[in-house]
Subunit: 384 residues, 2 copies
Amino acid sequence: MLAQMKEELAQQRMENQKARQPIEKMSAEVVDSNPYSRLMALQRMGIVKDYERIREKAVAVVGVGGVGSVTADMLTRCGVGKLILFDYDKVELANMNRLFFTPDQAGLSKVEAAAKTLTFINPDVSIETHNYNITTVDSFDKFLDTIAHGGLQAGQPVDLVLSCVDNFEARMAINTACNELGLNWFESGVSENAVSGHIQFIRPGETACFACAPPLVVAENIDEKTLKREGVCAASLPTTMGITAGMLVQNTLKYLLNFGEVSDYLGYNAMNDFFPKMTLKPNTQCDDRHCLARQKEFAAKPKPVKEEVVEETNEQLHDDNEWGIELVDDSQPEEVAKPTEASNVTEGLRLAYEALVQDDTASANTVSAADVNLEDLMAQMKSM
Amino acid sequence: MLAQMKEELAQQRMENQKARQPIEKMSAEVVDSNPYSRLMALQRMGIVKDYERIREKAVAVVGVGGVGSVTADMLTRCGVGKLILFDYDKVELANMNRLFFTPDQAGLSKVEAAAKTLTFINPDVSIETHNYNITTVDSFDKFLDTIAHGGLQAGQPVDLVLSCVDNFEARMAINTACNELGLNWFESGVSENAVSGHIQFIRPGETACFACAPPLVVAENIDEKTLKREGVCAASLPTTMGITAGMLVQNTLKYLLNFGEVSDYLGYNAMNDFFPKMTLKPNTQCDDRHCLARQKEFAAKPKPVKEEVVEETNEQLHDDNEWGIELVDDSQPEEVAKPTEASNVTEGLRLAYEALVQDDTASANTVSAADVNLEDLMAQMKSM
């Protein structure tokens, strides 16, 4: 009886324990036991010059829900150096229609549950968790300090911030922090009806920030009558969230490891499998003073010189693609627009809310976010 | 000591046990404990008429690797009625750079490990596993019989077959079986260099089957010199595989639950975030006699009548989209081409290998798969 119990305990312990030991250096050796062989093969295939540089990168993921959890999972499996996770929510059974979390985790904090799973999957990744709401005054300061100094080099900022939150206030908090720090970040979102999503790459001073203009969302051409919001339960699908996370992490990898073209804005309409792209220039009347300061800095920089505020240690980044030049995909022309020129928005996209036209004709084309009712915004932004 | 051990055993058992009980009927109730609330919300949002019909659907997933495992995970979380998994491979640490499998599963058969995880995630889904190679003569018959009679209605076929395999022979086996049975299926693939993928919806007799023409793959415009194949280790990324699985399952949901437009072919080029679409008509000289028979059947059918060989019990399917009419996305025109008209292939796509031109001028535009060396094909198809 005791022997049987001992045996079962050993068995159960084995099932629960960490399944592999940390690995000192990524190997390209082609053996079944090497968890990095298929990633290091990207070098042999000519896609990435030095894949192992990913171990020097720190990425902050804000929001560990349907998009953020899969984002963290993908980055962990890719062997990123450090992940810093922010969330203050708990796992619920109602989240089981998306990838990553499992029913046994219901009731645990999302960051705690995620950290446990991610460390189990890849013990080589350093996982740091922050269980608070970044939009409160105290927590915002902690958030700002963490992304400003959470990089892998002592005192340095993280290499990239990924927004996977589901509300306007949190997006604005990330925007404010990244404008102040001059940190590049990706915004992401999925619509309330679960059939569209998008990612947007924001480079302070160089592209429109989140306060520059009403955010772009994918126009779904669905009968608006069917979109009545009862304000309770948004729909979600593992497909739309998985694709959005995939687009987000793929562009993160392209940015961090310097291959391919990083998209400034990429939308996804699930109804007809349409993926609109475009680029938004910053608003010279933006309400965020740090955005205006970054715009001045960017304008003053000689254009052939790289705008690499964050990535000072990464001389190899973008060496053949000066960021001031807009990326153009010749088979699907990418449009470049000023943020409030709604008529210039790529077909398949729309602004998340109506731009307010001010009396002053000189600024007729600008939007004042301060003039917009926050509650209205929150309701409208729920559809992101 | 014994008490302590008992306590730990109870704890470990709890961690390993199934975390929720089966649910008799999907509820739309908005409570944290309802795993279906966000899916049933698709009805309130006007996207899907009757979401719960997904419980009546049986889907076969052939290949439970990087794409197939995520495909099965998504369908499980969506609450599909029945999943039939085919694979004969084992989980390896070298698979850890993709989503789904965990290091503790190394050494287990993929179908066994997947079934355990999927049942844990959603005990409402019936999971059936087949641990064999469908391309051997005996196993092919078992495969054919399983998809012909594995539906949720006794004796009926499955509702859809999803190909997530990584080689030419297995794709041809699925093609042969589905042509014979008149079963609709999706082909999917990811390139050897990890930066492109595609899905293709094959409706026997109505669209090009896999033997009608060289398969379409995404042209990546990457210097071919960098693509030298050392024949050992393909690169892979969780992003590309997750996006491909997401496109596959999203179109599966649109097809099974009758919403949006199901894409005939959707490609993905990660380098520039380009997603080409097109439709391929069947080849009237196809080498597969069942394909030719399905073409005759389709041609003989009055066009306003639905071609629903598989979905006889689903009168609601496609009621406003007769499948003989090609879907056209007006913002990104979809091209319709005969399979061997290479010049008509949508920009961003290419045929996987060169079409052989025969002496007979009457069939100069056709391809004879039998004339192609199988080893060459296997090598070329590895890039899918």
